[in-house]
């Protein structure tokens, strides 16, 4: 263990200790954003997630891979409680966001979704102007001041690496943009509410290779300020952009490790078989 001086919540300098990770390398343990503890989920009688135990760290990109129907989308939809929109869903176990169980009776779903944004497979901008798409969330949160909204819109569009492409046509309908641009508008819309975590459910599966590359570059830039969890069917994408990868199979986490390890020397034969295209 190594001793460090850090600032605590009251901004006082205190001594703390951090574990050693790796071979002779001092790495500080990152904070956990989502911690799942024996988390189970059922759609009626179907046991879709089985005893999920995962620690997702901040400022990292975590990829979730696995064949169709393995529970990966269900898992990320559980992280912002979107699964509750399905009436037959039952859960047990815990999913802690920053230490609090999001399925606890006192947890407000609105509060959670302000902190945990989501980007979907198909770009889904509102049938409104580019400006109104981005300002939608902040307005719901009560921001009416035009100057503040202008700032948020610009900052979010810059954050999603699309400002230069749309700054001269903010009042045009977002539907007029290409698929790749629409997806980045959706990411900007997500950034406008200043989330802590961004969930991405196959965000590039409907995009061409150039737009995919732009979104992947964006994900790399965003991880400095956000924690990103991305479901992807594209193995190369997971290998390219994520820090850690979780392999789901039949509702279970087979393996969760550093992406380098998963794609070079996975521990479990099922992981190797899946990433090598032997099934799925």
């Amino acid at each position: 263990m190594v001793e460090l001086m850090i600032k605590n919540e009251e901004n006082k300098t205190v001594k703390t200790s951090a574990p050693f990770i790796g071979e002779g390398q001092k790495v500080f343990e990152k904070n956990t954003v989502f911690q799942s503890k024996n988390f189970n989920l059922w759609y009626g009688d179907h046991h879709a997630l089985k005893d999920i135990n995962l620690d997702i760290k901040e400022n990292e990109v975590t990829a979730i891979i696995g064949p169709s129907g393995c529970g990966k989308s269900t898992y990320i939809k559980a992280l912002n409680r979107m699964v509750e929109l399905v009436p037959i869903v039952k859960t047990n176990g815990e999913v802690n966001y920053r230490g609090r169980n999001i399925f606890g009776s006192d947890y407000e779903v609105e509060e959670l979704r302000t902190r945990v944004g989501m980007v979907f497979q198909k770009p889904n901008p509102f049938p409104k102007s580019i400006y109104d798409n981005i300002a939608y969330g902040p307005r719901i949160h009560g921001i009416k001041n035009k100057k503040i909204l202008d700032e948020i819109v610009e900052k979010s569009l810059r954050g999603a690496a699309i400002w230069d492409e749309v700054k001269d046509r903010l009042n045009q309908n977002a539907y007029g943009l290409s698929g790749g641009q629409q997806q980045r508008i959706c990411i900007a819309r997500c950034l406008a509410i200043e989330p802590d975590v961004i969930l991405m459910d196959e965000p590039t599966s409907a995009l061409d290779p150039i737009s995919t590359l732009k979104v992947e570059e964006l994900v790399q830039e965003l991880k400095d300020n956000y924690s990103i969890i991305i479901v992807t069917h594209n193995m190369q994408q997971a290998a390219r952009i994520s820090d850690k990868t979780a392999f789901f199979l039949n509702g279970e986490v087979v393996e969760f490790d550093h992406t380098d390890k998963i794609f070079s020397t996975p521990r479990d034969q099922r992981t190797e078989d899946y990433i090598s295209g032997r099934f799925g």
Binding site: M235, Q236, A239, F263, S264, T265, P266, E272, I275, S276, G277, R278
Partner: protein, 219 residues
């Protein structure tokens, strides 16, 4: 045929080509020893002329591996297997080059009588070709135990090389008029010793393929 089956067939085809390259290189190395012992200059020239065939085999393996890397984008064991095939092909092509170097030294020595007994060198040649044959077998069978055993033999080759060089050095002091042949024989010893090192390299590649980690054997 599924995509995966097609991929496995293509990998098998590369492995077959590597096996072909290994056999050609080892046979050429043996032929160079025979040419040396029998002072068969015609055979030595033939070895030099036919080296291009070994080079072509290596190029064909490289092309096939590059095609598989591009089209299949393999990961984990699949990726390691292709890398290892590429590296093993390069090492075995090098063995072919050493055979050519030995053949060239044969031409330099010509029909001249050996100034000393080359029994130890013959023994070295015999053991090196045996190591190479065994490592190819271990590689094809993916037998890491056998590969480690083969790599251990490299110590014996190094020892023989040391003794042979020491002997030739001493000889150069007492027979300075034969320094040209002594140099030729020293080079041959060096080439044989390097061939055994390539067998050790292939043992290391096999361990990397199977275990995903790099191992240093007998270095």
């Amino acid at each position: 045929m599924s995509v995966r089956e097609r991929y496995e067939n293509e990998i098998n085809a590369v492995q077959q080509k590597l096996l072909q390259l290994c056999n050609r290189s080892i046979e050429t190395l043996e032929a160079s020893f025979t040419a040396l012992i029998n002072k068969d200059l015609e055979k030595a020239q033939e070895i030099i002329d036919r080296d291009v065939e070994i080079n072509k085999l290596e190029e064909a393996i490289n092309d096939q591996v590059i095609k598989l890397l591009t089209r299949q984008q393999p990961v984990a064991t699949d990726l390691r297997r292709l890398i290892v095939l590429l590296k093993a092909a390069s090492d075995m092509e090098r063995v072919g080059d050493y055979a050519v170097n030995i053949a060239k030294e044969c031409l330099h020595i010509g029909k001249e009588r050996f100034i000393t007994s080359i029994e130890l060198l013959e023994d070295m040649c015999f053991k090196t070709t045996m190591m190479l044959r065994q490592i190819v077998e271990a590689f094809i069978e993916e037998n890491t135990t056998k590969a480690k055993e083969v790599a251990e033999l490299d110590d014996q080759i190094d020892e023989m090389y040391g003794s042979m060089i020491k002997h030739l050095m001493r000889l150069s002091a007492v027979a300075p008029e034969s320094v040209a042949q002594i140099t030729n024989l020293s080079f041959i010893c060096r080439y044989v010793e390097r061939c055994a090192d390539h067998a050790t390299n292939i043992a290391e590649y096999l361990l990397y393929l199977k275990k995903g980690q790099r191992f240093e054997l007998n270095n």
